[in-house]
């Protein structure tokens, strides 16, 4: 059946209003969009790493999820989900559970690229039938915008601040999607919010309904950390994609495919200039920062493109 956002939005919400996420936050958009890809008849257990999303969506005694939910700590969302998924197989085999459950984990980039990478790697390697979704907002937003290994070079974060002697973050962003793909899992993809969400939806659907461990890396901007107008969320995502800062690709059974190619590749400034965290890059004398950022984006994009069929 052809994808229709209108039809998708008629489905019962599994992440409902009343959560405490900020206006213009990408995390809630990611969760709603991923959960829409569940078949209406299927149930899910959602696992969450400690994060903005977790403390905003399950503050006792209220939960924003209509599905079963578990949070235990920061570093171990993938391991926690492994336990739930294994229990499901054990209980299903013994006839103690009849329903079909899907297992979906959400972690921020701090809980995924950094402190959670060990438990994520373990879960992917063991082959649990689960989807790990990283809602990547490129810093530790919950604790106040500290840099993570996902924070891009030159971003102004509270532990990589811009100063007289500092251009912002020194290091480039880690490519986690490639690292996870190197586990040879059946499906890994990068996406974000674009247009009618077709790309995100199709990737989420594949990830949920492909047997085995699957990974989605979803660029989910943060208005506080990135310093943009809350109404600009969709525009920021479009610019991330059209500047090739955030390539939209998937790796399905080892086959790489670019799922979206910009009609006209925009210069990286278009993405940077909308965000306060990069404002210093536009100061006189800092032109080299933009040049190097552009060079890095081009290199990385070419590398991915060269892997795609």
């Amino acid at each position: 059946m052809a994808y229709s956002l209108k039809k998708e939005l008629e489905k019962k919400e599994r992440f409902v209003g009343g959560h405490k996420l900020c206006a213009g936050c990408g995390a809630g958009v990611t969760v709603r969009a991923v959960l829409r890809a569940l078949k209406p008849e299927d149930k899910a257990v959602i696992t969450n790493a400690t994060s903005c999303l977790e403390v905003s969506s399950y503050m006792y005694p209220h939960t924003a999820y209509t599905e079963s939910f578990i949070h235990s700590a920061f570093a171990n969302a993938a391991a926690t989900c492994s336990g739930v998924e294994t229990a499901y197989r054990a209980l299903k085999k013994k006839g103690k559970v009849q329903d079909t459950f899907k297992f979906i984990t959400f972690g921020g980039d701090g809980g995924t690229y950094d402190i959670g990478i060990q438990s994520l790697s373990g879960a992917m390697e063991r082959g649990h039938d689960m989807v790990y979704v990283c809602y990547d907002n490129e810093a530790y937003m919950n604790t106040g915008i500290q840099r993570s290994s996902s924070t891009p070079r030159f971003a102004d974060a509270t532990t990589s601040p811009v100063g007289k002697e500092s251009p912002g973050k020194i290091q480039n962003k880690k490519n986690l999607t490639k690292i996870i793909a190197a586990h040879n899992i059946p499906y890994a993809a990068q996406t974000t919010f674009l247009g009618d969400f077709r790309d995100l939806h199709q990737k989420a659907e594949k990830a949920i309904y492909t047997e085995g461990p699957c990974f989605l890396n979803i660029l989910s901007p943060c208005p506080r950390g990135w310093r943009y107008e809350t109404s600009d969320l969709a525009e920021i995502c479009r610019l991330a994609v059209d500047t090739c800062v955030w390539p939209m690709y998937e790796i399905e059974n080892g086959v790489w495919r670019m799922t979206y190619t910009p009609k006209k590749k925009l210069p990286v400034e278009e993405f940077l200039k909308k965000q306060g965290r990069f404002a210093h890059m536009f100061n006189k004398g800092n032109e080299w920062m933009i040049e190097e950022a552009q060079q890095y984006v081009d290199e990385q994009y070419e590398k991915i493109l060269s892997r795609c069929e």
Partner: protein
């Protein structure tokens, strides 16, 4: 009919696990508990246990998988030691707060600093305030019996439980053991039927909330209550176990305490050595006794105080330092429990056996002699002492 066998403590735990047949085990190797997941995964490999084994990449993940599995509605077990337990630390508190009855075999080993693979109680004693039940064993038989009792205790109390044994001493030492028939063990532990769980058909469940100040303290108070409520549960399970096997268990065991003038309180395998010293001193006409603490969490402060009160001086033995400059963890809790009594004995602390340092019958002999001197002079001297240190400055 019970089955006679010769087994190490680790084998005994693995056999108990096979008989219990939990739904999920998540485990990571660490000396000296490694054999437990090894033996148990070979039972699974041979089709002798229908359990899903998750060979995780760390102890942090081992406890996380147990948490997920238990919350999902499965019976979950694990095993660890020392640094492995330390690596689980964060999750110990989370699992206890979520009131999940995870059962963990702890094979006690010294914590690193410097690295040491031998026995003391610094690992589980360090976790004493994490909200887990803790039961300790003297012998391989007790290790096996405790592990079987742990399942119904944890599930009735809705608390996680550590079943502790002394690394290498019981874990690798082989001794005679009476095994219970598989069907009897299965009947004894029953089926795990949680009231609510993630995979329940009727309604979803949310586990692990952000507990803000208006709620957090109530979570903790309920945990404290559940620890209190675990006291009668432990005794009920022990009685049921005695009816099945004839073997009697309580919060502690009293050895030659009825007419004792001095006594010693200790945990774990050292009690066996201590009992030998008691026998020899009794043969010399000395009225000495021994209390072996089995249940450390919940701490049986009232009955233990009553038992210690029978004597004039008691040596409280800690196989763990707490670097408080006021004695080890058992000493502080046991001595505190004496405070409300009118006529209380002198209570002296001995730190011993750290990192596998041997404690001999002669050492216990010396301790009992010290206690008689204390009574005679009516003066306890320094109550915070070490025994078995080679460095002459600290003797």
């Amino acid at each position: 009919m019970a089955i006679r066998d010769r087994l190490s403590g680790n084998e005994a735990v693995a056999i108990a696990m096979r008989q219990i047949e939990p739904d999920v085990m998540g485990a990571f190797p660490i000396t000296p508990s490694t054999e437990i997941p090894e033996y148990f995964s070979s039972f699974i490999a041979d089709g002798l246990a229908d359990t899903e084994f998750i060979a995780v990449e760390s102890e942090h993940s081992a406890m996380s998988t147990c948490m997920g599995a238990s919350a999902a509605g499965a019976r979950a077990v694990t095993a660890t030691s020392s640094a492995g337990l330390a690596y689980m630390w964060e999750l110990l508190y989370v699992v206890a707060s979520a009131r999940l009855p995870v059962t963990m075999a702890v094979v006690n080993r010294a914590l690193t600093g410097p690295i040491n693979i031998n026995n003391d109680h610094s690992d589980s004693m360090g976790a004493r305030d994490s909200g887990w039940l803790q039961i300790y064993a003297e012998t391989n038989q007790e290790v096996y019996d405790n592990f079987i009792q742990a399942i119904p205790i944890a599930e009735a109390a809705r608390l996680p439980i550590m079943v502790c044994q002394d690394g290498f001493i019981t874990s690798h030492g082989v001794s005679n053991i009476d095994l219970i028939e598989d069907e009897k063990v299965k009947g004894f532990v029953g089926e795990y039927r949680p009231e609510n769980y993630l995979l329940k058909h009727e309604n979803p469940l949310a586990v692990g909330p952000y507990g803000t100040s208006p709620y957090y303290m109530e979570f903790k108070r309920q945990q404290a209550q559940s620890m209190k409520d675990a006291m009668p549960i432990i005794m009920d399970v022990a009685e049921r176990f005695e009816r099945m096997t004839g073997r009697k268990y309580g919060f502690f065991e009293e050895y030659m305490m009825d007419d004792a003038e001095v006594a010693l309180v200790c945990i774990g395998s050292s009690a066996g050595t201590g009992k030998e010293a008691v026998d020899r001193l009794r043969a010399e006409g000395k009225k000495v006794g021994l209390i072996k603490l089995r249940v450390f969490r919940p701490f049986p402060r009232i009955p233990l105080a009553e038992a210690m009160c029978k004597v004039k001086a008691v040596a409280i033995m800690d196989k763990a330092e707490s670097f408080s400059n006021s004695g080890g963890p058992l000493f502080n809790e046991a001595r505190s429990s004496l405070y409300d009594l009118k006529d209380k004995p002198y209570a002296i602390n001995y730190i011993y056996g750290l990192g596998g340092r041997d404690i001999r019958v002669e050492d216990f002999y010396d301790i009992y002699q010290d206690l008689f001197v204390i009574i005679e002079h009516d003066d306890p001297g320094d109550v915070y002492r070490y025994i078995g240190v080679r460095d002459s400055r600290f003797r």
